[in-house]
Structures are given as C-alpha cells and as structure tokens.
Symmetry: C2
C-alpha cells in the first residue's frame, strides 16, 4: 500500500499523512489515529527513508526513586556509549504507562531508540513510536510483558525457589515469605517458587507465614513485626526484596533477635546496599545492569531485518552473605 493509497483510504491529503509520519502536532487526534491505524495495519514502517536520528538513547522511568534506577541507567549508558550515543533520561507517568505529553517530546528529539521501564504501553504510544520508526524495548522486572513488545525481564520463579531452598537446606522448617504487592506478577512468581521449594523439602506451608508487602522498607518492617510477634515465630524469612529485608532487620533489632543466630533473612535484587547492611544480606541477584544492557542492545538490533518482538529473561542466582545461618537448635 502506498502513502497515496493510505491518504485516500483515510480521506485526507498526502501532506496530512506526511505530518502524521513526521510526528507533527498540527493534526487532529482523530485523523492521526485513523492514519496511524492504516499505516500500522499495513505494516508500514519507514525502512526506506529512515529519518535522521539524534545520537541519543532515551531511558524512561515512571519514577527515578526506584532503588533499581541507577543500575539500569548504568547499563543503558554503557551500550549507548559503545554505539556512539548519549543517554536522555525522562521520568513520566504512572506506575504502568508513560504520560501522553512525553510522546510529543520523544517525537521531537528523534532518539535512536527508547528503553521504557514500564510493564504496559498504551496502544497509541506503540503505534506512534512504530510509525515514527523509533525502536523501543521494555525493561520489565515486574514480569508482566506485553506480548507484542520486545522486553527484558528476569527469572522470578527460579529466584524465589533458590532463596527458599537455601533456607530449607539449613534446616529451617518455619520459613515465612514477604513477597511484593499482590497485583504484580513478579510477586506471585517468587511466591510460587517459595511454595515449590517448601514442597520439595516435604514441608507444609502455614498460610499465616505468607505475607504481601510493598517492596519498600516499611512494608518489610510491618510484616516482620507481625510475623515475629508470638511464640511460634518463623526462624527464617524470605523478604522478597532487599528493601523489605532491611525492614526485617530493623524489626529483628527491635524484638531483640540476632540475625542470623535467631533469625535468617534472605533478600531479593542484590542492589549495592545489600552488601552494606549489617549483617550483609544473603540475597537473590537480579542482573539489573545486564538487563538494561540487553534492552539497549535490542534497540540497535531492531534495524536488522528479520528481528521480531521478543521476550528475554535473564537468570537470577543466590548470593550467600551473612544474614543466614542453620536453624537454631541444629539442622
């Protein structure tokens, strides 16, 4: 289908189709949607006349406050530099999708590609990036990828399994889990890994030992204060994230429990502060920097024909430090 045919089918002029293709803002929302739908449904991408692009890679966060942000920035920056590009950093929108005004800025900046740290992208964002021929990849540590968007995540179920097996192997039978929010797939995958490890060790799971947190220090602290209250407290807690593990350490301190002598604690993420806590955290290493490098590399590969949307999950592994020990009273 030629552009003239697209213009005819949409009932607009050729210059209007051009404006849509060039991401200009002086086109009505309705017309833009109609033209983009036609372009998209015919698989039109500007392969032949690639627009001049700025040597920029855009990295978009919903909030820079994330403890992950710096590792992701470093990974993208490294691959960008290797490809002669610089990193533009934008912060935008809510937890799940970028804000609409962000898109106008991207179309003007014309970066070589966009790495988004979001779990879902609205249809019109995907469409506009595609018609503007700007490659994009989602880093999705939450594990809830859009099937038609290239994305990079990590192996959450295996991580939950490894964390819990480490504890059961040291004789812990009352093992609690504080996973993340109930509406995030990564929380559920880590919880299922925990359940499988408990089953593999022949241990029953006490439903009172399963808690949902918020992936922040406060959530870990509150759930741990409740878990450690009472006589049949757990001897080990898989804390679901390093920040939640810090909250568990503080709860243990206030309860007069020594970690790891009286309570073993395993984190998740292995962000730099995991090795600086007292005691240093045993934790599941999530390869954040490599995930970001992988995402940025996928941007540059999208120019090669035959590359389709894909999902890559990088492996996680357990890092044993000093917050875990055999069960009190012997294995």
């Amino acid at each position: 289908m030629t552009l003239a045919e697209v213009a005819k089918a949409a009932g607009v002029s050729m210059p209007t189709v051009s404006k849509v293709l060039n991401g200009r803002s002086d086109v009505s929302r309705v017309t833009r949607a109609k033209v983009e739908h036609l372009l998209d449904s015919h698989g039109y991408r500007r392969r032949t006349r690639t627009p001049s692009r700025s040597p920029l890679v855009e990295l978009v966060f919903h909030e820079l406050d994330s403890i992950w942000a710096m590792e992701l920035i470093k990974g993208v920056a490294q691959v960008a530099r290797a490809n002669g590009a610089t990193v533009v950093l934008t912060e935008s929108g809510t937890r799940h999708t970028p804000a609409p005004e962000w898109l106008g800025g991207v179309l003007q900046r014309r970066p070589m590609g966009v790495v988004l740290v979001f779990s879902a992208l609205p249809q019109d964002v995907k469409q506009q990036l595609r018609t503007a021929a700007i490659p994009f990849v989602v880093i999705d540590p939450a594990g809830d990828p859009d099937p038609d968007v290239p994305s990079v995540g990590s192996a959450n179920w295996s991580g939950g399994l490894a964390a819990t097996r480490h504890l059961t192997a040291q004789g812990h039978a009352r093992v609690a889990i504080i996973t993340g929010p109930e509406d995030m797939l990564c929380s559920l995958a880590r919880l299922d890994g925990y359940r499988s490890a408990m089953a593999m060790a022949g241990l029953d799971v006490d439903p009172r030992l399963i808690r949902f947190g918020d992936f922040h220090v406060q959530g870990g602290f509150e759930q741990a204060m409740s878990l450690l209250d009472g006589p049949d407290r757990p001897t080990a807690i898989f804390a679901g994230s390093d920040l939640q593990a810090l909250g568990v350490l503080e709860a243990a301190r206030l309860k007069g429990l020594n970690v790891p002598r009286d309570l073993s604690v395993v984190g998740y993420d292995d962000v730099p502060l995991a090795q600086w806590s007292s005691p240093p955290l045993t934790t599941v290493h999530q390869p954040l920097r490599q995930m970001a490098e992988q995402a940025a590399r996928m941007l540059f590969r999208q120019d090669e024909p035959g590359e389709e949307a894909q999902r890559i999950e990088l492996a996680t592994h357990l890092v044993v430090r000093q917050s875990t020990a055999p069960r009190p009273g012997g294995v």
Copy 2:
C-alpha cells in the same frame, strides 16, 4: 574587537574563526587554542547571535556509582522539566576533570547548559564552553571550587560542628572522627568543625581518635575496627559519611557492641539509605537535591545580563534518628 580582527590577529581566515565558534572538529588544536584565547581575552561571547540550542540540560558525572548521583539527577531533572528541557546524562573522565572527548559531544549536542559534578575544570574546557556560549555550573560537594566558575556546594564545617556538638551534648568525651580522604577540602572542613565542637565542650582531642577514610563503607569499617580495638575505645564516632557509618555499624556488630547503647554513630549526607539502616542513622543532612536544583537554575539565569560567576553554599543540618544515645554510665 570584531571577528575579522580576531582572524587577523590569529593569522587565520574568517571561516576558520567561524569553525572554532561553531565547535567544528576540522580545526587544528593549535589554531583552535589561539583563536579561543583571543576570543576569550576580549570577552567575546555570542550574545547577539545565540546559536540554536537543543532543549537539553547535560549532567556530567565522573562516575555514576556515587551514592549521591540519583539525588543530583532528580534535582536537575526537575528544574530542566520546569524549563521545557530534558536531561542528558554523561559519565566522563577522572575524579577531578572531564575527559577531552566529552567536549566534542557537548559542542555537537548544543545543550541549553551543562551541570558538571567535578571539583576542577581544565582551562580549555572552560574556554570552549564559553566561546560556544554554553552556560555551565559546577556542583562541588568536595568544597574546592574554581574561583571563576559558578558553583554550588554545602556547608561542611558547620556540618562537622553540628554532628560533634550533638555527641558532646550527650556526655560523650571520647569522640572519634573518621573523616574523608586527606586531599579533599570537605574532609578537612568537617574535621575542623569537629575540633571546634570539642574545644567548645572543653574536651581535649586525642590524636589517635582522628582517622582519614575513603568515604566508602570499607574505609569506615577498617578505621572503626581499629578504633574499637582496645580498652580506651571511643564511646561515639562521627563517621564522616553515611557509607562510612554503615561500615562502623558492621564493625560494632562484629565487636559485639550495641549501637547506640555501647556506641553512638553519626553519619553525614543523609542519603536515603541512612533511614533504612538498622538502627536508622543520626546524620548531617546535605541538601543534594536542592544543590542540583540550584545549579540547574543558575544555568538558566546566566542568560540574564549582569550575572557573574558565583559560589553558593547551602546549609546543612543534623537529623537525629536512633544511632546516638547518651554516654554509657550517664551524662
């Protein structure tokens, strides 16, 4: 002096002067230096024909690993956004100065301004940014500013004084300090603040209680292991940075000392992890985000006539959390 006169004085053609002004790379290093020196010594800045600039603010770090980096990014991003600009992030060079190849990239990107996290800028970097009419400001938490460059720092001496007075006011007499590296002015300013606070409390300073660290966890840990070894150990340590304070907490744990019951610890910086440590750290708040906002605002103000290079130091203040307590045995 007109550009024609500059060309004549430098013994080059007008197009060559233009090339230098436009940051083009096809001019020899010697010629560029000669032309720029002439332009600079006659105070030439392209006020009248401001070159078109990209709506970008460039933030340059020597290394993104700094625990400060995220707070600084957030501050610059906020002011950039308020001015319709986006943040470009570059990492470059050694601890003290940006690498030469970085400059070529900046001249091509033509940002609205550059915020550098460095203590010193080489003369030719300053000259090239000035002739290209790209405003720049240095964020210099190390406290060692170049007099002819606008910069933002914070009040290190007052911070050291406040940290130490908090300890002496609680009856501590054997107060140790682990300050930063001996070659950084901020380390010396914090140490002098400590000395003044000790003198104000009528206390002698035992020179064995003064240590120089590296501002990282390991330095704090090693110095604390040595300080806490022996019978006349200090009852309080001003740790010089939050990371060093984390190292002190770990040393205390290994020595079987309870913080704050047996040992009080004060950090410096108040980065987010200070409130997540166990116990949460009493620390000196360094307003990193505000420093970055201030630096970014100064960029936009440099277009206003009459603005000259200036140094701004923002105030620090003590935040009391749970790592400090009255001296064992009573005040």
